[in-house]
């Protein structure tokens, strides 16, 4: 049969954000895919020229709505390294708590969107209902529902008192129970398995070669997680990356599903080890020099390259987000799959286009 070219996106019901793929299809089997990005480019890196280094925290938080605090954390860690600031231990633990809350809400959002992608509307609602509990925690602890603006150079701005800690731990218990209830629905369901098992297989070698990041990489059997490097308070916590070995859509779902429980465990452990002390130290001087700062986001590794020149404005801010790293593996997975599986496949890398295009 002759080849047909099908434009996928930028407006597509399954995509919350605009990503275009030119799919060449033969008999409903995808033969090749060419991506096109740049629909939501905002030029946030360029803003470093007119916003000073402390205002940039608020700007990098808005790179991505789903992992805002992790962007700010990564940026602050970089600036702290440039300015030789040692963050107090309590601030490090609080950063971990907010980061893990963010990871949970991001994964629950993704699990909901994924359920929606294969037409499982009620499961989507269930996941988002659970997610709402975490959004409430974020709003109560940081003041904002989505943009958890707690990081500052030298520490964190807000504290979590004993009463709120208890509330968070109680909510974690409820969330754990509710997510476990959904386990059999998403893991053992016949329809879900038919749509995910064996589809879009990314082998271990390919994942490594293509530079995949985050759950996309870990679902292919590579135990690589930046939290192993022990930034913030992760060195004091008991942490093992969640891995799956199959490398298909199902493995990526399981990987993210299990990371929700891992995040709950990390929050619990962080609260038991939470030291007393001050929240932030005052940063003196201006950033000078170059630094590369890395943090594990829900989608994978984010990299910040920061270059200061001794003035209050940074000379260069370069952000490499995990979705950008996950697009080449996606293009490798697409050829050979059914056209009907393309939306599910695209969602399994958890694309965050506004991150990618900044």
């Amino acid at each position: 049969m002759a080849r047909t070219v099908i434009p996928f996106g930028p407006q597509h019901p399954v995509l919350p954000e605009p990503l275009h793929l030119t799919l060449t299809v033969e008999d409903e089997i995808v033969k090749s895919a060419i991506p096109k990005l740049g629909y939501v480019h905002r030029g946030l890196e360029k803003l470093a020229e007119i916003r000073d280094h402390s205002q940039m925290i608020q700007i990098v938080e808005r790179v991505c709505g789903i992992c805002s605090t992790l962007h700010a954390m990564c940026y602050c860690q970089g600036i702290e390294e440039l300015m030789n600031v040692e963050v107090p231990p309590r601030a490090k633990f609080l950063r971990v708590i907010w980061a893990e809350m963010h990871r949970m809400h991001s994964h629950l959002l993704w699990l909901g969107l994924f359920a929606d992608a294969f037409g499982f509307e009620s499961l989507f609602m269930q996941f988002w209902r659970i997610r709402e509990r975490i959004m409430d925690l974020q709003e109560a602890t940081s003041g904002n529902r989505v943009i958890v603006s707690v990081n500052c150079v030298g520490g964190v701005k807000r504290d979590i008192d004993a009463e709120t800690q208890k509330w968070i731990l109680d909510t974690m218990k409820i969330v754990e129970k509710e997510v476990l209830q959904l386990k059999s629905t998403i893991m053992d369901d016949f329809t879900v398995k038919r749509r995910t098992v064996g589809i879009g297989v990314l082998s271990k070698e390919k994942a490594y070669e293509m530079g995949a990041a985050g759950p996309t990489l870990r679902a292919s059997g590579i135990a690589q997680d930046l939290r192993q490097t022990g930034y913030a308070a992760y060195s004091d916590l008991n942490f093992e990356p969640v891995i799956e070995t199959d490398g298909d859509c199902y493995a990526r779902t399981v990987c993210r599903f299990n990371e929700v429980f891992q995040a709950i465990d990390l929050i619990r452990e962080a609260f038991t080890k939470l030291p007393d002390g001050e929240l932030a130290v005052k940063a003196k001087g201006l950033p000078n020099g170059e630094v590369v700062s890395r943090v594990e986001q829900p989608r994978g590794e984010v990299l910040y390259y920061l270059k200061g020149n001794g003035t209050k404005f940074l000379e260069r801010v370069r952000i490499r987000t995990p979705t950008f790293a996950n697009i080449p593996p996606l293009l490798d997975m697409l050829p050979g799959c059914d056209l009907a599986d393309v939306p599910v496949l695209i969602l399994t890398i958890d694309p965050c286009i506004s991150c990618t295009e900044r």
Binding site: R51, S54, Q55, M56, I57, Q58, I59, R62, R129, D136, E139, A140, G143, N144, I147, S149, K157, R158
Partner: protein, 119 residues
């Protein structure tokens, strides 16, 4: 018949959602909502204007005015933290929808009565 238990449970439990217009959520403590100012306390120093990452605040020392663009404000609360006299605060609620994208203007009333200009 496996659903009977779930159906009965759902019939007997209360609503999963809030009956919104009649029942609204109490805002959490220290939620960063709409930006407000106590104009009497303001010293028009302009620190809020300098610190604002979205540059939505305008301060005019001569005209004694303080303006905010509620549509550019990102509710970060940097100005509230930076204010030396703590005249800025954030309400628990977000800004209500508006029909026009206007700046919100606050004018400080003159504290001392100036002498009338000579004729």
């Amino acid at each position: 018949m496996f659903m009977t238990k779930i159906v009965l449970k759902n019939l007997l439990t209360k609503y999963a959602t809030r009956l919104y217009p009649f029942q609204t959520k109490e805002p959490f403590k220290d939620v960063k909502g709409e930006l407000k100012i106590v104009m009497e306390k303001c010293i028009l120093c302009g620190v809020c204007k300098l610190r604002c990452p979205s540059q939505c605040i305008k301060v005019d020392k001569q005209a004694k005015t303080w303006e905010v663009d509620p549509f550019s404000c990102v509710y970060c609360g940097i100005c509230v933290e930076a204010c030396p006299v703590k005249c800025l605060y954030q309400e628990g609620q977000y800004r209500a929808p508006l029909a026009d994208k206007d700046m919100v203007l606050h004018v400080q009333e003159a504290k001392t009565v100036e002498a009338p200009p000579a004729p």
